[in-house]
């Protein structure tokens, strides 16, 4: 079976897996990194949202063979370290607003939120209602309104 090497949460990892196994299962089933959740497997619920080279992506829809040695994948477990703090400002905002209910979608929500704020800034504006309306991550508990509140607050400290 082929070997695949990439940078996961700041550390080079190597894993043996068939080329077409999606990254989500490499993370969860082979490497035991369970922060990214399964919610659909077809890139529509966004519960598995992680970052690749600083941008949001959904590992349920990327084969491991598409990941290169220098690619940096960040899961929720590695987010705080990217800010050099104990918690990323977005995680702190999530705590402050007491966003989570069941919590299942929240790692993906937080990863999406961080990317959304960066995307808005790259486009030259702060995250606003129109950006928030574009977030596709489902929360079946319906925490959307606190998510909106937390993203605005978290953005201020990013």
């Amino acid at each position: 079976m082929p070997e695949h090497s990439f940078i996961l949460n700041g550390e080079q990892v190597t894993v043996t897996a068939e080329d077409d196994v999606r990254v989500l299962w490499v993370l969860r089933d082979l490497l035991g990194v369970t922060g990214p959740k399964y919610g659909c497997g077809i890139n529509v619920c966004k519960a598995c949202t992680c970052h690749i080279n600083g941008k949001a992506f959904n590992p349920c829809s990327v084969p491991i063979s598409a990941i290169g040695e220098d690619d940096e994948i960040t899961t929720i477990e590695g987010l705080a370290a990217t800010s050099g703090r104990e918690l990323h400002p977005m995680q702190e905002a999530w705590l402050e607003a007491d966003v989570a209910q069941c919590g299942y979608c929240q790692p993906g929500q937080i990863m999406a939120a961080v990317a959304k704020v960066r995307q808005a800034r790259a486009e030259g504006h702060e995250v606003g209602d129109a950006d928030l309306d574009e977030i596709r991550n489902i929360c079946r508990c319906g925490t959307y309104n606190r998510i909106r509140e937390a993203i605005r607050a978290g953005a201020q400290n990013m």
Binding site: I42, D98, A100, Y104, G142
Partner: protein, 776 residues
Amino acid sequence: MSANPLSPEPGEEAHAGLQRRRFLGYLLAAPTLVAAAQLGEASVRAPKAAAAVNSAPQPAEVYDLNDMLTDAALPTSHLVSVQINRDGTASFEMPRAEVGQGITTSTAMLIAEELDLPVDKVHVTLADARPELVFNQLTGGSNTTVATYTPFRVAAAAARGRLLQAAAVELGGAVTDLTSRAGVITSQLGSISYAELAEKAASDRNQQVVAQLKPAESFSIIGKPQNRVDARDIVTGRKKFTTDLRVPDAKPTMICRAPTLNGKPESVHNLAEVRAMPGVLDVAVVSTGVAVRAETFGQCIDAIQAVRAEWKPGTAAGKSDETILRELKAAQLPLAVPKADPLAETVEAEFTFHFRSNSALETNCAIADVRDDRAEIWSGLKVPIKAQQMIAAQLGLPQNAVTVHVVEGGGSFGRKLFHDAAAEAAEVSKAMGKPVKLMWHRTDDSRVGRAHPMCVSRVRASFLGEEVLTYEQRHTSVATDFDHGLGEILTAMAGKLPPGNRTLAESIFDTTQQTGYHFGVTTQLLNEVDYGFNTGSMRNVYSPDVRCATELVVDQLAARTGKDPYEFRRAFLKDERAIAVLDKVAEEGEWGKRLPAGVAQGIAFHPEYKGFAAALVELDCRPETVNRPIRDGVTGPRVRKVTFAVDVGLPVNPRGLEAQMMGGINDGIALALTSSLHLEDGYFLEGSWDNYFYTRQWNTPPEMRIIVMPPTTGRPGGAGELGVAASFASVACAYGRATGTMPTSFPINHGTLAFEPKPTVPPVPQSPTNGLDHTY
């Protein structure tokens, strides 16, 4: 901070100017202090006095589902105990399931309050299935805090009383001279921590003691906003759900299912070929399909793609939305109340509510390790004792040979009342002779998983002048499956229920439904048809549909009598608490303010779970809003503002209560506008979140204000489901006012199929490979 001894006699007494309620508790023999509640004598409670003026009370006003669940839990409350640990913290194995509703947090608050400990020093975990608890391990009906408010506190208070006694011995002096605060007991002679007392206070035998509860005036934790105890684990990815657990050799397992609802495998053509696929470890034909165990879930999905099988027909063969609607209409009970006055006028309406999915974001899942002589199960289960009984019977094992661990669930909305995945995992593990981590694919969870049944609600009300003389509602529904232990409770409590030969579902309906209005002669009745579907209670069960129909008719009555919808409701509401929440949203939400054409307000209320809720929404139905483009999603009318008021009697955690209302509001919006299942030829078309349109960011109200009313009764009501019904109804009412036409079919977009249905063979879609094209 407070000081009180264990007292010799139970009863009420005044102490230090404050009333302390006294209950019997138990100290249990253990190495460190363990205390429990004894509440058997409290199980006989007088029914609430009927306060009818115009209308006789409906059954649910006298003895409701929550009374029944609470009374059923009481006889075993003494088996639920609080332990003081050697590090001074407290542990509590809660016989309830956390699925997002926040009861690990609120329970930690109750115990912390009575123990005089900080909330973060109380560790609440979920108890394994404990059959000796009989009816006291069912999480449902928004009943947890209603039923456990006193017993959990009594257990903690008994522990604190014992700690004070032990401290008096250690420090010298009288118990009355001691105060406890933040896990330390202090007197003028010195102080000692709970850590130091944990063993000294331990009891070497089981003994009855009297525990004294704090008076509400002394609460420093109950009633104050508290963030979730698991929030940090959630935001760092550390919180473990069932499929995150590492059970040795429990490999990813999925099922290839039939292309029809509940179809069974007849023959499989290529088992050897599937077994030889990369990563595949085991393949077995089981009752629900072809089970595949593999190194990764992705390889299970690959294997499902490859299975070639013949299937027996399912349980809904040939059925569709149209055939079910005909079945429902044919089964409607007659409207029976004679015309009250020859001059009376009537309002009549009939509403259709389509099938809806209660699929949580965590799909059905369970880990099972079945051996010859025993089995071990891990799953999010709201009725674990029933799961244990049924799985033991299924495996041919004695009940005590099956260990059932309750894992925190990724949402429930009714799903986790049943143990479908656990039963299936046990079957597969037995068939393969290996541990399995079984997970349903989303597509199965959506199409085969339990659904809220389709139903029709017919209403006729008559009025004369300004009086409403009669209100009749005939609710006809595809059967709701309550076979998760509620039946046993109902049988045990039958003597307390309204008389009559009512079925289980009818009794649930009777004990939950009430109009809340003085509408003269009032009857609300349920009739059920068709048992071919996988159904179950969906958050708030019957109430969202029944309430939506009621409130739409109330708007009609207001219009026909020339009254303002808010003023009309106000005039007919039975309860002062109902009027208070309605007034609150009318005031804060600026009822009656001027809005552009196509934008309208809707107002509605709902009483249940010992509480009252009211919602006022502003709904934008203008074309530019309705038709705003969103890729692979539906837009439609948008609720742009919600004002919501809730009175639960005593909010234990206002922050958690507000969260539950937020979720209920987003559910109500989905029920009114976007989310339903389409039944076509025996199968539901919706196969994932790009087909099933639960509220999304682009649907949720940008402005939401939730007002938690101050305590009214001193006792907590239920929270988990209370937000849904009034929200749904208010959106429906707003839609009627914005468009000028009362909606009669829900959700309002059901008539338009906004997606291309996924194939049924193979039953689950393959994962895409182009994810890197969509980074941002």
